[in-house]
């Protein structure tokens, strides 16, 4: 049974990756899951300087999901390279570092340093507001997105470049194509969807930040639809993320066109979600007498379409 998948020149031993922001820097899950078994570990988004994050409350549960406004709290590039990366590099899995910046220059500096440090892939978080262009998120403006990806690709020699698309766009295929045309090796989607909740007793928003990102099973149909649309628009690998909590979910995304998937919020109630999903995928392949997972990618039954 062959579970390997290719994200550009990056070969993963299986399609199961972790979603940035839900898996810390890996170590937090080591007691629950054998990290060496995973296709890839995608760590919390790193910025040049450390970020403190938002005041509490930062999260609240909603129907079949949760809202988060963590605020991008992270240790910053310097401490990541010194304190977190050595542990990760010792693992027998691919290391993907998610990065975020206030402007293109910051993304480029982060990419260069991480590429030099030998990480396997860099995932660009483009849902952050662009400071230079007056708060527009990189991921909602095709011109800015194209420029960002081009500059990052120019600065990187070895690492695979993945662009994590925002769901806040009216036309996913357009943005997927922009990423592909600008040289991105792969795209991952989706990031969280902005939402809010109000406490009717106190009459206050449940999050200190008022608005947060919705994740979990509630967003799966939207994420799946966007993965389906993006896969139809580009040839580069699409990594599916959004509400995947079990192997059935993972397989749905692969049938829709995802080459690999990321498990995020699903890790909170079940810290072993990633390994459970790998096992579940193996059982599915056995049941369907499929010997190579790559045969599942995009193999949604087209006779009825």
């Amino acid at each position: 049974m062959d579970l390997t998948v290719d994200i550009g020149s990056l070969k993963l031993k299986n399609p199961v990756m972790t979603a940035s922001g839900t898996f810390g820097y890996g170590e937090e899950y080591a007691e629950f899951v054998d990290l060496n078994m995973l296709g890839a570990v995608v760590v919390k988004g790193i910025s040049l300087e450390p970020m403190q994050g938002n005041p509490s409350p930062r999260i609240c549960e909603t129907a079949c999901g949760m809202l988060n406004a963590i605020g991008l709290q992270n240790v910053g590039l310097k401490r990541f390279l010194k304190d977190k990366l050595p542990y990760l590099k010792n693992l027998d899995t691919k290391i993907v570092v998610n990065i975020l910046g206030k402007n293109i220059r910051e993304y480029v500096r982060l990419s260069k340093s991480l590429d030099d440090a030998g990480v396997d892939a860099i995932e660009l978080n483009v849902s952050c507001p662009n400071v230079k262009k007056g708060g527009i998120a990189f991921g909602t403006n095709k011109k800015i997105l194209a420029k960002l990806i081009t500059k990052v690709k120019q600065s990187v020699s070895n690492a695979t470049v993945i662009v994590k698309l925002s769901p806040n766009v009216s036309n996913i295929p357009d943005f997927a194509k922009t990423a592909e045309d600008s040289g991105s090796d792969a795209i991952s989607l989706i990031n969280t969807i902005p939402g809010m909740a109000i406490d009717i007793e106190t009459r206050r928003p449940k999050l200190a930040n008022i608005i947060g990102g919705l994740s979990g099973p509630a967003i799966k149909p939207i994420a799946l639809r966007m993965v389906w649309e993006a896969s139809g628009a580009v040839k580069i690998p699409v990594i599916g993320v959004g509400g995947i909590v079990n192997a059935d979910d993972a397989i749905e995304f692969m049938l829709a066109g995802a080459t690999a998937i990321q498990v995020g919020t699903g890790n909170f109630p079940n810290p072993r979600a990633t390994s459970d999903i790998i096992e579940g995928i193996q059982l599915y392949l056995k049941r369907k007498s499929i010997h190579d997972i790559k045969k599942v990618i995009g193999s949604i039954n087209r006779l009825v379409l």
């Binding site: 922001g21 839900t22 898996f23 810390g24 937090e28 899950y29 007691e31 629950f32 919390k44 403190q52 994050g53 005041p55 509490s56 409350p57 930062r58 999260i59 609240c60 549960e61 129907a63 079949c64 999901g65 949760m66 988060n68 963590i70 709290q73 979990g216 099973p217 909590v245 079990n246 919020t265 890790n267 909170f268 109630p269 079940n270 810290p271 072993r272």
Partner: protein, 275 residues
Amino acid sequence: MGRYFEAKVTGNNPLNNKTCILTIEPLGPVTSPEPGQFYMIEVGGPYDPLLKRPFSYLKQTADSISFLYAVRGKGTSLMKTFMEGKIIKIIGPLGNGYPLPPENCAPLLIAGGTGIASIYSLAEKLPTKACVFYGAKCKNELFVMDDLKNIESESFICTDDGSCGEKGTTVEVLENYLIRTPKLETRNLIYACGPKPMLEAVSKIALEKGLKGYVSLEENMGCGFGACLGCAIKVRNKEQRAKGRKNKVAGAEFVYKRVCKEGPVFPIEDIIWET
């Protein structure tokens, strides 16, 4: 079995119409908890409610762990329906519990409402008997009173409506005690668990009297084991203070600490209360 394990519900006993004691037996060997630690308990799902719920433990025996919980919302309403024999998944023990007091110390244990659970777990383990201040809205909301009788030395029970013990709040009773205690020993250590306003008031009094101690906090939690950063709260930045504030870094007066990992127990002087 590690810290993510299955357990069987062996008891779910109502104490009044809102509060119950849930008893579970892990299906295999597990790590023993320290007083003040908590567990993430599965209440439903797998889709909804999505997240596990955090509860400090009340008691542990050779094969069981018990929790005191009050029905507040969706998760706890579901917990109330747990029948004996039900198998649930649990993560724990989690967090840093109460640092045990040094030998010569006279601990003052302060509990409000269901905060009595983690305070009781501490009182049970102390080598010397402690002084317990325990308050609730009314007699109906005071719990584990018989167990308390077996372990504490002096106890000060109070209720808002005077239906049991003194009429007043835990904070008022504590304040009066401290005022009339002539030689307040600096070896008195405060341990407090209860509603946030109570903890804030207790901390204020403690700091005024030069007393040290610990509070156990709670916060909405995502994972409960330190990965998601959802439960992070502002805490005084000791390192920056130590450096003499040489670097004027924005926000250097505080750092964010995870209630599930660095907490839930924090030194009183570290908390930044934001009301």
